[in-house]
């Protein structure tokens, strides 16, 4: 049968899919190697305790696991990092949580963050009318890195709303003349805060984004008011391509595949990093892929069985299977060629591993989604998804995007 035949090239992957647990040691080795060769971009959230930093992490990643402080109690003692997704991170958030709290000395934390960060998001609560603490740190950072772009989020807009008022829709702050569209208190606070922070040293761009990320039960619609404005600010401030990494195409409305996207990207990047290593165990990449597919199955609550694993791989078809093994093998062969072979092999390996992982992940998402809804799965459709994803996946495998000019060394 088709599936039986197809299993040949997929052998390692098939085994990885069905084993109750992926070879933990090997997987850990792969992820560590990936992390070492390709550090994830770091977003530094600078703001006072309880100014809404965690809400921003939550809104950017779409993860609900980020612990949301309740608006008053400090959550950690010192700066803390939040890797997303936790296993194969594509982005890391750094939080100097204790800023402004009793018994907190920020110097060390700030030095740490400054050394690691690729992108700085400053968070100011709209009702905070004294911004000296944040301003001091911000000025110190900009004096050392005059061209770092700064995104300043003005959070908790609803605290300045008149009684029972809702968010102004559509989001007005990007329009000209927004001043007349928002409640008076909001306008005055937003402008006063901007004026109070004043001119920062250096000439990097400064983007102000008023926003309000609430919990669904707080009763404000939408809960992530201003998220698009924040994304545009981040995208224009940095070349990290964060949005592509964190968010699936806007056309994808299925919440499962939106949640799956960062994981697919994370594992693809890890596979790319592993693939670029000069000497590499051939089984590492399939181990990563197997783990990714299992994770996706977990997200869709549809575990891999002998039957659907065979069906999925069979549907992808022989052509894809052969190309898959060739890609993996070709990289290894190229590396054996002396001289340029190493470099070519590394680039090929990186892009091939990342691309196949990305394509497999996306195809698995499509398969699992249809399967979940009980639709008949067409092989053509699945192959099309795979091919399209392969093209996008190649982009991911390229060497990491340049840092911001004068950016710190990771």
């Amino acid at each position: 049968m088709n599936a039986e035949r197809a299993r040949g090239p997929w052998r390692k992957l098939y085994r990885a899919l069905l084993s109750s647990e992926v070879d933990g040691e090997r997987l850990g080795q792969a992820l560590r190697a990936a992390a070492a060769s390709q550090p994830v971009p770091v977003i530094w959230l600078l703001g006072l305790a309880q100014s809404g930093k965690t809400s921003i992490v939550r809104a950017l990643t779409g993860s609900s696991r980020a612990e949301i402080g309740n608006g008053f109690r400090p959550c950690t003692r010192t700066a803390s990092a939040y890797d997303f997704p936790p296993e194969a991170p594509i982005v890391s958030f750094l939080d100097t949580r204790g800023l402004g709290e009793v018994d907190y000395v920020p110097d060390e934390d700030l030095a740490q963050c400054e050394a690691r960060a690729h992108q700085l998001i400053t968070v100011l609560k709209i009702t905070d009318t004294r911004v000296e603490t944040v301003r001091e740190v911000l000025c110190a950072v900009r004096r050392r890195h005059p061209d770092w772009p700064v995104v300043i989020a003005q959070t908790c807009l609803h605290e300045a709303y008149p009684e029972d008022a809702d968010h102004v829709l559509p989001y007005p702050f990007a329009m000209t003349g927004w001043e007349s569209r928002v409640p008076e208190a909001v306008r005055r606070l937003v402008l006063a805060q901007r004026e109070q922070l004043g001119k920062l040293p250096g000439d990097g761009p400064v983007a102000w984004v008023p926003l309000d990320f609430t919990l669904p039960e707080d009763g404000y619609q939408p809960a992530d008011y201003g998220i698009d404005a924040l994304w545009s600010a981040i995208e224009s401030a940095s070349s990290l391509g964060l949005r592509a990494r964190l968010r699936a195409d806007p056309s994808v409305t299925d919440i499962y595949s939106r949640a799956a996207h960062p994981h697919v990207v994370g594992y693809s990047l890890a596979a790319g990093a592993v693939g670029a290593l000069p000497v590499v165990d051939l089984a590492l990449v399939p181990a990563l892929q197997g783990r990714l597919l299992q994770l996706l199955a977990g997200l869709y609550r549809l575990p891999w069985t002998r039957r659907n694993a065979s069906e999925f791989l069979g549907l992808l078809g022989g052509g894809i299977a052969t190309a898959y093994s060739l890609r993996l093998a070709g990289r290894s062969i190229a590396k054996l060629v002396p001289g340029w072979g190493q470099t070519i092999g590394a680039v090929w390996g990186a892009s091939a591993s990342a691309a196949t992982t990305y394509a497999l992940g996306k195809a698995a998402c499509a398969y699992l989604a249809r399967r979940r809804e009980g639709h008949v799965i067409e092989a053509d459709m699945l192959r099309e998804v795979y091919r399209a994803a392969l093209a996008r996946g190649r982009q991911l495998g390229r060497p990491p995007a340049e840092r911001p000019p004068d950016g710190p060394v990771g």
């Binding site: 309880q50 709290e101 605290e159």
Partner: protein, 513 residues
């Protein structure tokens, strides 16, 4: 019988006996008459009844006095700092152990010795290194102590002991002597009476039971109480004077308004109110935009202070006069935020030093309290530096509780113990976090809402807390008044001396001309 003659002499005994004959005969004749008219039984019944009622009333009187006497005792001064209270404990110990056997009240020289002992003890407490502690005190001071103790003791006795204005210590002692004499010879009297008149002997026996108790109570208990009050009064005034807590010629009441408060009061309402007592000075402190001016408006129930959502609305320290149904007379000081552009550190420190009650206003929905804690610790340290001053009580007012989660819900009242609903839980959690961060007892944190149209917990919880803190604040106020007046007195004396010197110089100059 012989010592009776020896004590009074034959003639006097005979005189008394002859003079008493008609009196002795009268009850006999009366008894005979009662017997003959057949009413002796009724009479005996009346005797028993009257005796019984008398005994019962006496019991009631004793019980009342026993309750009243311990209540009437001198207590430490409200304006005393801790040092004086430690000394007071010593005085009380001495008073508790004093007995009238050791210090008979009739012994004037003994009482003077006791007074000296108390004064030395107090003086030693305040001047531990002086070789002659009593010399630390001037003669007018010492006399003033004894005079005051005596005056107050007299007033207390007149108010509390029936017929005391007719009693002198000498009279009490003489009564006691007679009583002792009677005790020694009562056997004779009773036997004689029984022979002469058996009915009246019964009545006398009953009367004796009553009289015994009355006199026994009057002497022992009362005298002990007197002695102890005497020691305490001496101690009280000695502490007042040795501790430098009072002036010699003190005829204005202690709580008379301080000149500064008069000026502030004038600034508050534009008229020099003839305030009888120094008002409580309540100072509102906190960060910019915490809600200090809003709290003023909420406390007064009307728009008094300008408020805005941007900081630095309050330019200077502004007093407002508060008179709440006569229960609380105060000057409430609105201040600019200590981290604001308008903050004048020196002026804020002065206002805090002169405060009797500090209301620390802070926002519920933020966690960056490092600056607040730092400032609060500074204030605590400054106030603790001066042991002669009492630190004003501190209440923390937690504002903006309506902004806690869930932000769109506002349906007071919120029951906090135990918390009911998410909002109440959030308020309780915020209270705990705030108390932790500022290192203050959570019972001293009052959650309020000051938003327009949502004023909550100000008229009840905050007022209750302020009234609860009032006795403590009053002590601070009294001590503050005292210091202010001592300062005025010193200045007054200096001016007088300078004036005298000036006159002297003028005279010298005049003579030289």
């Amino acid at each position: 019988m012989k010592d009776l003659f020896a004590q009074f002499g034959w003639w006097r005994v005979a005189a008394v006996a002859i003079a008493a004959v008609p009196l002795v005969l009268l009850p006999l004749l009366g008894t005979v008459w009662l017997w003959q008219s057949g009413q002796i039984l009724w009479w005996l019944l009346a005797v028993v009844l009257a005796g019984g009622i008398g005994l019962a009333l006496h019991r009631v009187a004793v019980a009342r006095e026993q309750r009243a006497l311990p209540e009437m005792t001198t207590s430490p001064g409200a304006h005393w700092p801790a040092e004086a209270e430690r000394c007071w404990a010593k005085v009380e110990r001495l008073a508790e152990t004093a007995t009238i056997e050791e210090w008979p009240l009739a012994d004037g020289a003994g009482l003077m010795r006791l007074a000296r002992q108390v004064l030395v003890m107090v003086a030693q407490h305040f001047h531990p290194r002086a070789r002659q502690p009593l010399l630390e005190m001037t003669l007018p001071h010492t006399l003033a102590i004894i005079e005051r103790a005596a005056r107050e003791l007299r007033e207390e006795i007149v108010y509390n002991i029936p017929f005391s204005h007719r009693l002198s210590l000498g009279a009490m002692t003489r009564a006691k002597d007679l009583h002792d004499l009677y005790k020694r010879h009562e056997g004779w009297f009773r036997m004689g009476r029984a022979i002469l008149s058996p009915q009246s002997a019964v009545a006398a026996e009953l009367r004796r039971a009553v009289f015994e108790q009355v006199s026994a109570h009057g002497s022992e208990r009362l005298q002990t109480w007197l002695l102890r009050e005497y020691i305490k009064k001496l101690g009280y005034h000695a502490i007042d004077l040795y501790g430098g807590l009072v002036r010699i010629e003190d005829d204005t009441p202690l709580a008379a308004p301080d000149s500064r408060s008069l000026a502030d009061g004038e600034a508050a309402d534009g008229q020099a109110a003839a305030a009888a007592a120094e008002p409580l000075r309540i100072v509102l402190l906190g960060r910019a935009n915490a809600g200090k001016s809003s709290l003023i408006n909420a406390l007064f129930g009307e728009l008094k202070a300008a408020t805005d959502l941007l900081p630095d609305t309050t330019a200077g320290i502004t007093p407002y006069r508060l008179d709440r149904d006569g229960a609380l007379q105060a000057l409430v000081f609105d201040t600019p935020g200590f981290d604001g552009a308008q903050a004048n550190r020196k002026a804020l420190e002065r206002a805090t030093a002169g405060a009797d009650l500090v209301l620390w206003v802070t926002v519920a929905n933020r966690a960056d309290r490092a600056a607040e804690r730092e400032r609060l610790d500074e204030i605590r340290a400054t106030l603790a530096e001066d042991p002669a001053r009492r630190a004003p009580p501190l209440l923390v007012v937690m504002t903006h509780i309506d902004l806690l989660r869930p932000p769109r819900e506002w349906q007071p009242p919120y029951l906090l113990d135990p918390p009911q609903g998410i909002k109440a839980e959030q308020i309780v959690a915020a209270l705990g976090a705030l108390a932790d961060a500022l290192d203050i007892d959570v019972a001293r944190v009052i959650p309020v809402c000051l938003a327009e149209g949502r004023t909550y917990n100000v008229d009840d919880a905050l007022w209750a807390a302020m009234l609860h803190a009032q006795p403590e604040a009053d002590r601070v106020r009294l001590l503050r008044c005292l210091r202010a007046r001592k300062r005025d007195e010193d200045w007054g004396l200096l001016w007088q001396q300078l004036g005298n010197a000036g006159r002297f110089l003028l005279r010298r100059a005049g003579r030289a001309e």
